[in-house]
C-alpha cells in the first residue's frame, strides 16, 4: 500500500552479510513490526563508506572498526552500536598440505601456510575481511609474498570461487562460508581462535550533514537491531542448522526511550 511505499530506508552493507542470507531472515520481522521496509544495497566495504559520505544511504551495517571510527571522526556518523559478531575461519583443500588443522592459533596456521608455500588466496579489496587477514599476517610476523600468495581484488564470493578452482587456502567469514555452495575440494580447516573475532556494528548518520535522509526511520531500524526482538531474530538465523551470527548488543549503550 501507499504508506508502505514511501516508508523505506536504504541500508548500505557489505556483500558478505548479504550473501549469507541474514537480511532475508531479519528484515521481514522488522517490517512486520514497524511498517518500514529496508532496501539493502550490498557493496564493498569502502563503497559502503563512500555511499554514506555522499548521503546515498540512510543506515549502514559494517564490520570494519577502523573505517567506522574514521566515519565518526570526520563527522558523518553520530552513533555506533555493536550488534553482533561472527568469526573468521580458514578454509583450504581437503588434503591440507600445510597441515593447519593441528595448529593451536590462527597465527600458527598462517605461519605453516607460508612455510609450506601452499597457495593462499587473499581478497585484496581492502574490505573488512581483507583488513582482518592483513592484521593476522602482521601478528604472525610475515609479509606474505611470492607465487603462492595470490592477491585478488574481489568480493568474498568470487574469491571463494577462485580458491575452490585453485585448491588454495582462503581466509573467510563463517556466514559466507556456510552459505557458499561451490566448495569443490574446500573444507573448513581452522576455526575458534579469539583473534578471529568479527564484530558487526550499526551506525547512525549525522542529521546535520545530510538533512534529507530518513533519520527517523533509520533510528527505528537501529533501535530494533539492538532490541531484544532484533537480537533474537539474529540469533535465530541459521544456515544448515548452524547459527552463524551471535548477537552481542550491549543493552547499556542502548539509550532508546519508548522502544518497548
Amino acid at each position: 500500500d501507499e504508506r508502505k511505499e514511501a516508508h523505506y530506508i536504504v541500508l548500505a552493507s557489505t556483500t558478505s552479510t548479504e550473501n549469507s542470507g541474514l537480511f532475508s531472515a531479519i528484515i521481514p520481522p522488522f517490517t512486520e513490526a514497524t511498517g518500514i521496509s529496508v532496501r539493502v544495497v550490498a557493496v564493498g566495504t569502502g563503497q559502503v563508506f563512500a555511499l554514506s559520505r555522499r548521503g546515498d544511504a540512510d543506515a549502514l551495517l559494517v564490520h570494519d572498526a577502523a573505517g567506522e571510527a574514521r566515519l565518526i571522526d570526520e563527522g558523518y556518523a553520530s552513533e555506533r552500536a555493536e550488534i553482533m559478531y561472527n568469526d573468521f575461519v580458514i578454509v583450504g583443500p581437503n588434503q591440507d598440505p600445510a597441515g593447519i588443522t593441528t595448529a593451536k592459533r590462527a597465527t600458527g596456521a598462517f605461519a605453516r601456510i607460508a612455510a609450506a608455500e601452499s597457495p593462499f588466496v587473499s581478497r585484496g579489496d581492502d574490505s573488512g575481511t581483507h583488513r582482518a587477514e592483513r592484521q593476522l599476517w602482521q601478528a604472525t610476523g610475515i609479509a606474505p609474498q611470492g607465487e603462492w600468495y595470490r592477491v585478488l581484488g574481489s568480493g568474498m564470493g568470487p574469491t571463494l570461487n577462485t580458491a575452490a578452482a585453485m585448491g588454495a587456502y582462503v581466509f573467510t567469514d563463517r556466514a559466507t562460508w556456510a552459505a557458499f555452495d561451490n566448495r569443490q575440494d574446500l573444507v573448513l580447516l581452522f576455526e575458534g581462535d579469539e583473534a578471529l573475532f568479527n564484530q558487526y556494528a550499526s551506525l547512525l548518520l549525522l542529521e546535520e550533514r545530510h538533512p534529507h535522509l530518513k533519520h527517523e526511520l533509520a533510528r527505528e531500524w537501529h533501535r530494533w537491531l539492538l532490541s531484544e526482538e532484533g537480537q533474537r531474530a539474529i540469533a535465530d538465523f541459521e544456515i544448515a542448522g548452524q547459527a552463524v551470527f551471535t548477537p552481542n548488543a550491549q543493552r547499556g549503550t542502548d539509550r532508546s526511550p519508548g522502544n518497548q
Binding site: 536504504v10 556483500t15 548479504e18 550473501n19 532475508s24 532496501r39 539493502v40 544495497v41 550490498a42 557493496v43 559520505r53 555522499r54 548521503g55 546515498d56 568480493g155 568474498m156 564470493g157 568470487p158 571463494l160 570461487n161 575452490a164 552459505a179 557458499f180 555452495d181 561451490n182 566448495r183 545530510h210 534529507h212
Partner: protein, 234 residues
C-alpha cells in the same frame, strides 16, 4: 560439467515454477533494457545518420570518439551516473538513485554509442547510393535522414538488437546505480552475479539460460517481423 546439467535443470525449474519473485525480476529486466534501447535508438539513430550525412571539421574525431565509447565500461558508465544522481551530485535532488529510472539512464549511455556508430555505416552506404537522386529532388540532408533510416530499417534492426544485447547483458552499471535491491532494482544480471558470489553456480547458470531465452524471444519476434516486411518488398 555436472553444474551445466544442473543449470538446465535449474532453468527448467525456474520457468516451470513461475516464481512470482522471478517473474518480477524478469519483468524489470525487460523494462530496463527495452527502456534503455528506446532512449538509445531515439538518439542514436539520428546521431549516426547525421554523422554519415554531414561533413564538418572534426567529424573524424567525433566518429573516433563515438566508436571508442562502444568500449565504455559499464562500471564507468554506472559510476558517472551514480555521481550525477547521488545526493551530493548535481541531480541528487531528483532522488533517482537506486531506482529503475537510474538504471535506464546508465544503460542508455552504453547503448547509444553502439547504435550510433553502427547506424552510421549503414546510412553511409545507402547515402552513397541515394545522395545525388535525393539532392536532385531538392531533399535537404535533414529531410533525407528519416528516409534513409527507413530504407535501411532491416539492417538497423540488427543494430538495435546489438544495443539490446548490450543492455540486457551488462551488470556493472545497473549494479552501481540500482544497488541490486531485492524487489526494487534486482534484475536478471544482478541476480546472476549475486548467485555466483554465493557459489550457486547452477542457479546462476540457470538464470543465465532464462535470460538468454528471454533475449532470444525478443530477437525472434524482431526477426519474424523483419522477414515478413522484407518479403513484401520483393
Amino acid at each position: 560439467m555436472p553444474d551445466t546439467d544442473n543449470a538446465f535443470q535449474a532453468a527448467l525449474d525456474l520457468i516451470l515454477g513461475l516464481d512470482p519473485t522471478l517473474l518480477g525480476i524478469v519483468a524489470l529486466s525487460l523494462q530496463v533494457s527495452l527502456g534503455a534501447v528506446l532512449v538509445g535508438a531515439l538518439i542514436g539513430l539520428p546521431l549516426g545518420a547525421a554523422l554519415a550525412l554531414w561533413r564538418f571539421p572534426g567529424r573524424g574525431l567525433v566518429v573516433t570518439l563515438l566508436n571508442a565509447f562502444m568500449g565504455l565500461p559499464p562500471v564507468v558508465a554506472g559510476l558517472l551516473v551514480y555521481l550525477l544522481l547521488s545526493r551530493a551530485g548535481p541531480l541528487g535532488e531528483l532522488g533517482l538513485l537506486f531506482t529503475p529510472t537510474a538504471m535506464v539512464i546508465a544503460q542508455s549511455l552504453l547503448v547509444l554509442p553502439i547504435i550510433a556508430a553502427l547506424t552510421r555505416d549503414h546510412v553511409r552506404s545507402l547515402w552513397d547510393e541515394y545522395r545525388e537522386q535525393l539532392h536532385s529532388f531538392g531533399v535537404t540532408r535533414l529531410r533525407a535522414m528519416p528516409s534513409l533510416l527507413w530504407d535501411a530499417r532491416f539492417a538497423l534492426m540488427t543494430v538495435i538488437l546489438a544495443g539490446f544485447g548490450r543492455a540486457s547483458a551488462e551488470v556493472g552499471a545497473v549494479l552501481i546505480v540500482g544497488g541490486n535491491i531485492e524487489g526494487v532494482t534486482r534484475v536478471m544480471t544482478t541476480a546472476i552475479a549475486l548467485e555466483t558470489s554465493k557459489g550457486n553456480l547452477s542457479l546462476a547458470l540457470g538464470l543465465g539460460l532464462v535470460l538468454l531465452g528471454l533475449v532470444a524471444l525478443v530477437n525472434a519476434t524482431a526477426y519474424l517481423v523483419g522477414e515478413r516486411a522484407r518479403r513484401k518488398l520483393g
